[in-house]
């Protein structure tokens, strides 16, 4: 069964070969005359102002975590949508709906918990 993976391996090998070859060639043949302007970070032609490693307000982190949580949960709804019609035809529509309802309810409890605990207040 490994024979079917040989083309994939060949693609990988050829890609690695070409990438390595041209990176190596340009490194070997290309002339190098560095000056301060060339060494500076290129940001659409605009000179960089200040340090790029600034501090973020920790609240952004919390918001990002909440977003990830609820965004990821939405992903789980897609497979359910795919099989919902089939389940409906098989006569298990109410069950499928109740399953998603339970899922949404557990999510809702999490949301309410965050809300009541003050996780959504911008302080």
């Amino acid at each position: 069964m490994f024979e079917q993976f040989i083309p994939v391996l060949m693609v990988l090998a050829v890609a690695a070969l070409f990438a390595g070859l041209f990176l190596g060639l340009s490194n070997w043949l290309g002339p190098r005359r560095p000056d301060p302007l060339k060494d500076s970070t290129y940001e659409c032609g605009i000179p960089v102002r200040g340090s790029t490693q600034i501090r973020f307000f920790v609240r952004f982190f919390l918001v990002a975590i909440f977003f990830l949580l609820f965004d990821l949960e939405a992903v789980f709804i897609y497979p359910w949508v795919i099989v919902y019609r089939a389940m409906l035809e098989a006569g298990h529509g109410a069950f499928a709906l109740a399953e998603m309802g339970t899922f949404a309810f557990v999510l809702l409890v999490g949301f309410v918990y965050i809300w009541r605990k003050g996780g959504l207040e911008w302080q």
């Binding site: 490994f2 099989v83 409890v109 918990y113």
Partner: protein, 504 residues
């Protein structure tokens, strides 16, 4: 067209009931915590205890029968019931210990209770899993909640470090586990244990897939049970987490890890014993020896208990090794193979229960001695003269440590006896000798604490009012350690009957 199982009939509900009680209880505790303004500090712990008790009552009352249920996802019957009782019991003890410490120093963590319930839910699913998906679901539910439990003491750097380390390394090990499952699925074309067993029995397919897959899965489980060489997180995490969480992790997480390790070992035994047996033998010996040797030089009692828990994982691994040994795999002597396999697996179960009892007693005492600043009493020298200041606590800790060392009238001795007897029955005498030598070595560091407690002069007592409920609970556990050490027969018979459900 996709095929659908009949969703939920009456039997499915009765299988699900204990899981629903624990999971729903966790949600209930969360909501009560968020909405009820008039809560006293210990009300949530009473509610949590009620949920655990309700799950035990449900298990006693409802018997859903034996075998795979819910479309083959979970294994119903004595095996899962045994572990559910164990997890609920450990959960109850942990709740009591945690509450005792809040009462005194005002460290109040209401999120602890729902997290504890969700961890137990994950463990129950993991122990009962009959499908790779259920394994992963249970393992992740358990792990994610444990990461927060370990790192959840706000403002404590060591606790945060423990949680962070555990999270990063645990995520890494989960990735290995998932990759292994994917390879095993690629081999068998199914995630169900029974289907995998059928494919393994025919012996067809690419053996490299199942070998590599099972090796990766072994890494994932080995991390959870703190098997050398996947143990590096254990001392730091056990040391940094608060003592009641450490006690919980050292007992319940380990029991869940060994439950699934036993299931997977039995599943793979027909085809992969040749690969797993030598590898696990080396790992078991390394785990025992390294755990005991490093524990010898620890001055911090939580680190000492962490290394000792690694050593005990090594003893437990001997049981798994016995299951995979040539004696069990020998088709010519089926009857003998069955006896050896059953005695090894039941010895592992008995050991898990005994180890949970004595370890919880030990951590219960360590937990209750933590001082007002919230730091655990982890320096061994601070236990000097404890026998005069706190006779009950000192006696409880002494019983627990003697039992961990495997001294006769306690359950630790009987557990080791059953385990080494099974190892000898399989003809692995050298392994049993290594195990006995290791437990001799371990006597030194356990006795050292007892010597400090009973024979050194009293130091100034820096621990405030010892909370009597926790001490009484730890004392009751110590009494149980003594009782099961004297009368282990009934319980051992129960463990043996649980094992009979599993395929050999």
């Amino acid at each position: 067209m996709t095929h659908f199982e009949m969703p939920l009939d009456a039997t499915s509900w009765s299988v699900l009931l204990p899981y629903l009680v624990i999971g729903g209880g966790g949600l209930l505790v969360m909501l009560v915590d968020a909405f009820v303004r008039t809560l006293k500090k210990d009300h949530l712990s009473y509610l949590t205890l009620c949920v655990f008790l309700a799950s035990i009552v449900v298990q006693i009352a409802v018997h859903p029968g034996e075998g795979p249920r819910l479309g083959g996802m979970l294994l119903a019957g004595d095996w899962s019931r045994f572990f559910n009782y164990l997890f609920a019991g450990i959960g109850i003890m942990t709740t009591i210990f945690a509450t005792g410490i809040y009462d005194r120093d005002g460290r109040y963590r209401p999120e602890f209770y729902p997290l504890l319930l969700f961890t137990v839910l994950g463990m129950m699913v993991l122990a009962a899993a009959n499908d790779l998906l259920a394994v992963f679901l249970g393992l992740e539910t358990m792990s994610l909640a444990t990461y927060i439990l370990a790192g959840g003491v706000r403002g404590n750097v060591r606790s945060s470090e423990a949680g962070f380390k555990y999270l990063v390394l645990g995520g890494f090990s989960s990735a290995f586990l998932l990759m292994g499952m994917a390879l095993l699925y690629g081999y068998a074309g199914d995630t169900n244990f029974d289907a995998i067993a059928r494919v393994l029995a025919t012996g067809g397919g690419a053996t490299i897939l199942v070998t590599a897959g099972s090796a990766l899965m072994l890494m994932g489980f080995g991390f959870k049970v703190a098997m050398v060489p996947f143990h590096m997180w254990t001392p730091d995490v056990y040391d940094g987490a608060p003592a009641y969480v450490t006690g919980f992790m050292a007992t319940a997480v380990k029991a869940a890890g060994f439950a699934i390790l036993l299931r997977v070992a039995l599943l793979l035994q027909p085809q992969l014993a040749w690969a797993w047996y030598p590898v696990l033998t080396v790992f078991a010996v390394l785990t025992m020896s390294l755990g005991n040797l490093v524990a010898l030089v620890q001055n911090n009692i939580k680190r000492m208990l962490a290394w000792s828990s690694i050593a005990h994982a090594g003893y437990l691994l001997l049981g798994v090794v016995t299951l995979l040994s040539p004696a069990v795999g020998d088709p010519a002597r089926q009857a003998l193979a069955r006896t050896v396999g059953e005695s090894a697996a039941s010895a592992v179960l008995f050991y898990l229960v005994g180890y949970s009892l004595m370890n919880l007693a030990a951590f219960g005492v360590v937990n209750v001695l933590s001082n007002r600043g919230g730091e655990d009493a982890d320096d061994i020298n601070r236990y000097a003269g404890l026998s005069r200041r706190r006779p009950v606590a000192a006696a409880t800790l002494a019983v627990a440590l003697l039992s961990l060392a495997g001294i006769p009238p306690f359950v630790g001795f009987m557990a080791k006896f059953y385990l080494f007897a099974a190892v000898v029955k399989a003809g692995l005498v050298p392994l049993a000798v290594i195990g006995v030598i290791n437990s001799l070595v371990s006597v030194y560091y356990y006795l050292r604490v007892i010597v400090v407690m009973y024979m050194k002069d009293t130091e100034a007592d820096s621990y405030d009012g010892v909370e009597w409920v926790s001490v009484a609970t730890a004392g009751a556990l110590a009494a149980l350690v003594l009782y099961l050490g004297i009368r282990p027969d009934a319980f051992h018979a129960a463990a043996a009957s649980v094992i009979r459900q599993l395929p050999f």
